[in-house]
């Protein structure tokens, strides 16, 4: 069992790693509710190496976090690039998508890049074993 106290005691880098995973899972779940499974499916696939690193811990975990942080940076950069492309030429873009490219969208994209960079730098600080020792 993971106790609330364990989560509360996690260091900042580990908490941010969990946050980045939750963001991905929430996006997947939002689509599940409308009957679209691939965002969650792809998300879970991308999570597999991280899960492997988590199970192996130590150096493997650091490598997995490195992989994950690069993925988060790429995700943020792709979002920014897409915004730039659509700003340059919006022909053929459905309005439902076009009007999602707001200031809020831009801030979220930048946040993903910052989040990824932070995880990359702090990857050695990430450890579940110290705090989640009660996991059965």
């Amino acid at each position: 069992m993971i106790h609330f106290q364990d989560i509360k005691n996690l260091n900042r880098a580990t908490s941010i790693l969990i946050l980045s995973i939750l963001l991905l899972l929430i996006k997947g779940l939002v689509y599940i509710f409308i009957g679209v499974i691939y965002p969650l499916g792809i998300g879970l696939l991308l999570l597999l190496p991280l899960l492997y690193g988590y199970l192996k811990a130590g150096k493997k975990l650091q490598k997995a976090v490195k992989y994950w942080s690069v993925l988060v940076i790429c995700y943020g950069l792709i979002r920014i690039l897409l915004n730039v492309f659509i700003y340059a030429d919006d022909s053929g873009v459905p309005s439902g998508a076009y009007y999602q490219f707001t200031v809020w969208y831009g801030l979220k994209s930048i946040s993903y890049v910052i989040l990824g960079v932070y995880l990359f730098i702090q990857r050695k600080e990430i450890s579940f074993q110290q705090k989640l020792s009660d996991i059965n």
């Binding site: 679209v36 439902g96 999602q100």
Partner: protein
């Protein structure tokens, strides 16, 4: 000389037919100012709500204002609102990984039958526009037609079917709104007699009052042809599938789309442009077509 002798009676005969094809003057008198007001509000010629003028109906805010206006209009003419809020995929796996789902409102309302009935006749049109277009003909005309027919239906003393009127959101985004609605309607297991969607009914350069029936179910095609024959309105069957009717056909409903002569190229040249304005609407054609559709529904009720 021989040909002149033939032409004179032909001309007289044609003129008689033209007279017969005229819309009921009472209908015209009631409908025309109403339809003009609806289209003026929808495409920014007059304000739609407190100081608000719409230049398009494409952004979420503009669509929400339009949905509010349409909801109020339906309530005002005595229809019971049953709006449908939906979320849908962006239609592209890559976009779905990046963006939130699309969302919108299909403005829907019901007019119950005057006798006990579980059968529904569905009709409607889309209310969104392409970005940068005021969308007078595409598709404020469709909305004006539906609202005016809805008003007339309410006044009928005997209706053996329930009517359901739906203003679809996001037709310009690959019919997202109508696809969500058709899917939802399928799950309700309601007894749907037929679905009639109207898209662009404001251009008639050759003044023939022609209407195109898009992918009509055979039974509906016969019905429309018989009413058109009485009103001397030329109708043409087409295979156009790029509008809301296709969403219902795909779900197995008996459906058709109705439009100006899009395939025969007597259609607005300002399609999806900033020039699709109030001033380009042929209101006489709109009234004629409204009268035609109203008569189709009246025939259905007989």
């Amino acid at each position: 000389m021989k040909s002149t002798l033939f032409l004179i009676p032909s001309f007289i005969l044609l003129s008689l037919f033209e007279l017969e094809a005229q819309v009921d003057p009472v209908f015209l008198e009631e409908m025309l100012p109403f339809q003009k007001e609806v289209i003026a509000k929808l495409c920014g010629k007059s304000e739609i709500s407190n100081g608000m003028f719409l230049t398009q109906r494409a952004s979420p805010e503009e669509r929400e204002i339009t949905a509010g206006y349409l909801s109020n209009s339906l309530t005002a003419i005595g229809w019971k609102l049953e709006n449908h809020h939906y979320k849908a995929t962006n239609g592209n796996p890559f976009l779905d990984l990046i963006l939130e789902p699309m969302q919108g409102i299909n403005v829907a309302a019901v007019l119950p039958a005057t006798i006990l009935s579980d059968t529904y006749v569905v009709f409607g049109s889309h209310y969104d526009t392409e970005r940068g277009s005021p969308g007078a003909i595409d598709n404020a005309t469709g909305i004006a037609l539906c609202l005016s027919v809805a008003r007339q239906l309410k006044q009928l003393e005997n209706r053996k079917f329930n009517f359901m009127l739906v203003f679809f959101d996001q037709e310009e985004d690959n019919e997202v709104g109508s696809r969500a609605y058709a899917k939802m309607l399928k799950t309700t297991q309601k007894n749907i007699h037929s679905v009639h969607t109207i898209d662009m009914v404001g251009w008639d350069n050759d003044n023939n009052k022609g209407v195109e029936l898009e992918l009509p179910a055979p039974e509906l095609e016969r019905l429309y042809n018989s009413v058109a024959q009485q009103l001397k309105i030329p109708v043409y069957r087409t295979k156009v599938s790029s509008s809301d009717h296709k969403s219902f056909i795909d779900q197995g409903f008996k459906a058709l789309g109705i439009s100006e002569e899009y395939v025969k190229r007597d259609s607005t040249p300002y399609y999806h442009t900033p020039k699709d304005t109030y001033d380009t609407v042929n209101f006489e054609y709109l009234s004629d077509t409204s009268y035609f559709i109203f008569n189709v529904f009246k025939t259905l009720l007989q």
